[in-house]
């Protein structure tokens, strides 16, 4: 939700320092409460410029988080965390420099600015091309997650009770022996100011509850776990209250028990119907990471790897069936990566990455836009704390639904011999995003258009391009569902990113199904 701040603050033109003054925006929830930060930001940017920076930005970041975890009839952990600090990023001599401190004072921010410039100058002799940034308007604004009930103001007992109620429901199922449940909430407040005129305050609130039910067969010495995740979202407590996570607990417990008794899957090629609760992660791994420009150009080679989808194939590489369109969108309501502006101060947007099955675009930052001849950043720069260097992170990447309504039940009814998979299981993909292998939480056999029984020990393994070409049917607009993760990892030192992926259910023809049972080995 953007709340215009232009009438309250006087922005400057690009390249000059903004004038940080003006009355507070009282209507904004929890924002603009620390006037002394205006002075801190101004002095840090001035110190960087004086020390020789050609560009500088300052992030003051406060992250509050709350975690509750339970097992069976008891609360195991209740924790409330706050992390606050200031980071200064600069360009000097054509190189980046960065320094950060938890001491949020003007003097220490100035020190960090000077340290960042000194680091940049130490690195400058090893630069072959100076860092250049794509132009951006001097955005001055406020943005915050729309919500009704602030999760941090909901009594602790209420949160614990819903988790314990879930545990009680699941434990009523004969055969269920263990249940764990957890609730996580985080509020990320960030003030970003730059020498290019950005002055942006944002607060993002994210929630992520879930539980896991374990059934044990003592006689056979075997166990199975069925996990359930209420998709993490940007939302208030009303999202949890309005969900069916408690009502579903008995069914999830029953599925854990049925899974333990289920026959082990027969490996081989089968038609695969993926519920969106499973497919979102396959999109994350095979499409989301594939279209990160830094990865495609070798900037992540030492850790997360590169990408098969190199920029020379843009407009030519057919990654999947011609009816598939994948789009990036940092404006999707409730999406975990949604915000008003990225950490370069660029307004967020929606754009296609894969159109009619063909690679057409990438995720970029201000530094990266010019690498592929684009004039403006797509706005995907992010740092996960005050102490983290901002770099390219995944926006919400989603698969558009088909034009006509079609449910997962219709996909099942049209399938003769297949497997349905729901929920996020084990996931692994190679360092160029080609060979992947995914599991799930619940697996059902499909025979002659009907779900017949549960299966266990199922994984599907494929090559990304072959997999998306094998897709022959997707659900319609009403079947579209958004999953996501709070902890996507990238970079060195490692940073996390929260990102959502929406998709309809989809069917894939003749996919390699593996049996992961080694219990008798």
């Amino acid at each position: 939700m953007k709340l215009s701040r232009r009438s309250f603050l006087t922005g400057s033109s690009a390249g000059a320092l903004a004038l940080f003054a003006g009355p507070r925006l009282g209507a904004a929830r929890g924002l603009l409460t620390e006037p002394r930060l205006d002075e801190l930001v101004k002095r840090a940017l001035e110190a960087a410029t004086k020390a020789g920076a050609s560009y500088a930005d300052v992030r003051v970041v406060r992250i509050r988080s709350e975690n509750i975890s339970t097992r069976e009839d008891r609360v195991e952990r209740v924790a409330s965390n706050e992390d606050y600090g200031v980071g200064v990023r600069v360009i000097a001599g054509g190189a980046w420099g960065f320094a950060a401190t938890p001491s949020v004072t003007a003097a220490d921010a100035e020190r960090a600015a000077r340290d960042a410039v000194a680091i940049a100058k130490a690195n400058a002799p090893l630069m072959k091309r100076p860092v250049t940034l794509a132009p951006v308007p001097a955005n001055v604004d406020v943005w915050q997650t729309p919500l009704i009930k602030d999760p941090f103001k909901i009594p602790l007992e209420d949160k614990a009770e819903i988790l314990l109620a879930i545990n009680r429901e699941a434990m009523k199922v004969p055969g269920v022996k263990f249940v764990t449940s957890q609730f996580a909430a985080a509020a990320e407040w960030k003030l970003l100011a730059s020498t290019d005129g950005a002055y942006i305050e944002q607060e993002v609130v994210r929630l992520g509850p879930g539980y896991a039910v374990t059934a044990v067969d003592d006689k056979r010495g075997e166990f199975e776990t069925r996990e359930f995740q209420l998709p993490p979202r940007q939302a208030g407590w009303e999202y949890v209250e309005g969900s069916s996570m408690l009502a579903d607990a008995r069914r999830i417990g029953e599925e854990a028990v049925e899974k333990l008794k289920a026959p082990s899957v027969a490996p081989g090629k089968k038609d695969l119907i993926l519920d969106p609760s499973n497919l979102w992660l396959t999109i994350h791994e095979s499409i989301g990471h594939t279209t990160e420009l830094d990865r495609a150009l070798g900037y992540e080679a030492n850790y997360a790897g590169t990408s098969f989808a190199t920029p020379d194939q843009r407009g030519k590489l057919q990654i999947g069936a011609p009816f598939l369109t994948f789009y990036a969108d940092k404006t999707t309501p409730g999406g975990l990566a949604t915000c008003g502006y990225d950490d370069d101060g660029v307004a967020t947007q929606k754009w296609n990455l894969i159109e009619n099955g063909v690679l057409v675009s990438y995720q970029t930052t201000r530094e990266q836009a010019g690498w592929i001849g684009e004039k403006a950043s797509r706005g995907t720069c992010y740092a996960d704390s005050y102490g983290s260097f901002p770099f390219q992170r995944m926006p919400n990447v989603s698969l558009a639904p088909g034009p006509r309504e079609r449910s997962i039940d219709e996909l099942i009814a049209a399938t003769d011999d297949g497997i349905v998979i729901a929920g996020r299981g084990s996931w692994s993909i190679d360092h160029q995003r080609l060979n992947f292998q995914f599991g799930g939480q619940a697996f059902w056999e499909v025979k002659r258009g009907k779900k017949t029984r549960m299966l266990r020990d199922v994984a599907y393994q494929a090559n990304t391009i072959e997999f998306w070409h094998a897709c022959d049917a997707i659900g319609g607009p009403k079947s579209w569902f958004m999953g996501g993760t709070l902890t996507d990892g990238k970079g060195e030192p490692g940073q996390i990113n929260s990102v959502s992926h929406g998709c309809p259910p989809a069917r894939f023809r003749q996919i390699n199904i593996l049996n992961t049972n080694r219990r008798t080995a």
Partner: protein, 441 residues
Amino acid sequence: MLPQADTRRLVDRILTLVHATKGAAGMVAVRSTREGNTRFAVNEITSTGDVERLSISLTVQFGQRSASATTNQVDDRSIDDLVGRALRMARLAPENPEQMPLLGRQAYLTPKDPADPATAKLTPDARAKAVGAALAAADAAKVAIAGFVEHGSQSVMLATSEGLSASHTWTSCGMSCTARTPDGTGSGWAGLGGHRIASIDAAALANTAVTKATSSARPHKLDPGRYTVILEPAAVASLLSFLIGAFNARRADEGRSFFARKRPGDALFPADITLRSDPTDVPLGASPFDSEGFPLAPTKWIDKGTLTGLPYSRFWARKQGKPPTGQPTGWTLDGGTASQAELIKGVARGVLITRFWYLRPLDPQTLLTTGLTRDGVYLIENGRISHPVTNFRFNESPVQMLARCDGLGLPEIPSGGEGSGVRVPALRTHEFNLASISEAV
């Protein structure tokens, strides 16, 4: 970093505030770090930073009720807020019958020189110099290189209202790099960690990565299947981490672990497999105490192939009538004396693997794990490296990796991959399931 005396004053002030509340007991943990890093790719520096971090955590107990709060601000208002939050939440938290009382005074082992001054005060210029050596090696060979140099100084101080007082300060460092040939068909990696920056030779690591990149270019296709494999230390470390993660007595007793139905004295592995933890292992950054302040002792969990026991938390130990162990740190898989050439010698047909990537569990009962090879895979024929081959996805368990092991090299501490923070040797094992080809390079 927060000076030791300031940390002590902070801890005392927090515990005094807790003491002032009737019925409350408290544990404070202050963690302070200063880290520096430089990242490089496409043969130049790409990002860098010097970062200070602080964490002040307070756990409050009212009988069986408990809650924790954390801040990183040291001003009086923030500390008052921290204590207020922890007290308020602890009063509201439901009772936990498993909660153990806070520990009182303990005696700890003393690691020898865990903090290396040169590593603590390494400058950005020194990091740039190390990167420069790596870039020079890559430029000379006309390959692309990417990598990461990091170092840090960390301290932790724990104290409870029951009299526990523990502190530990140490340094850590690491460097890793990946070289890639211009035609995109070869990739090589090297990485080492430790606590002394002087132990890391940037040029030597870069040269290893460059040599692997050029020697792995234009790989031949090799059919998936079960192979004798020589796993270099980085590969061993990443797969072994799933076995280390399963060392938990409670999960075993509850019947949901690989160790369920296993007993001390069970011979699980060949006699040259010994897996141990050592809280005084300085290069691994091990700590003499765990997060509750429980004193840790050097322990062989697998001794000459035989399971000796599993770690017990304080609660589970009391329930089961066993001695508690705390949460072990500083894991080492003991090595042998074989060089890589000696491990390869005698292998009629096998595969040499540099490291693994994206490992994920498939079955917690058998510890079956999937993942991929990367950055240098070679066919071994008649005791010699024959030629590079494509990457593979594997589906294999660390249990089987050790059970079929018949050769161990010299141990080292890999850095920068998925199995950092342990000391492991290269090893030779058999019937390793390379399940499908990965076309990735």
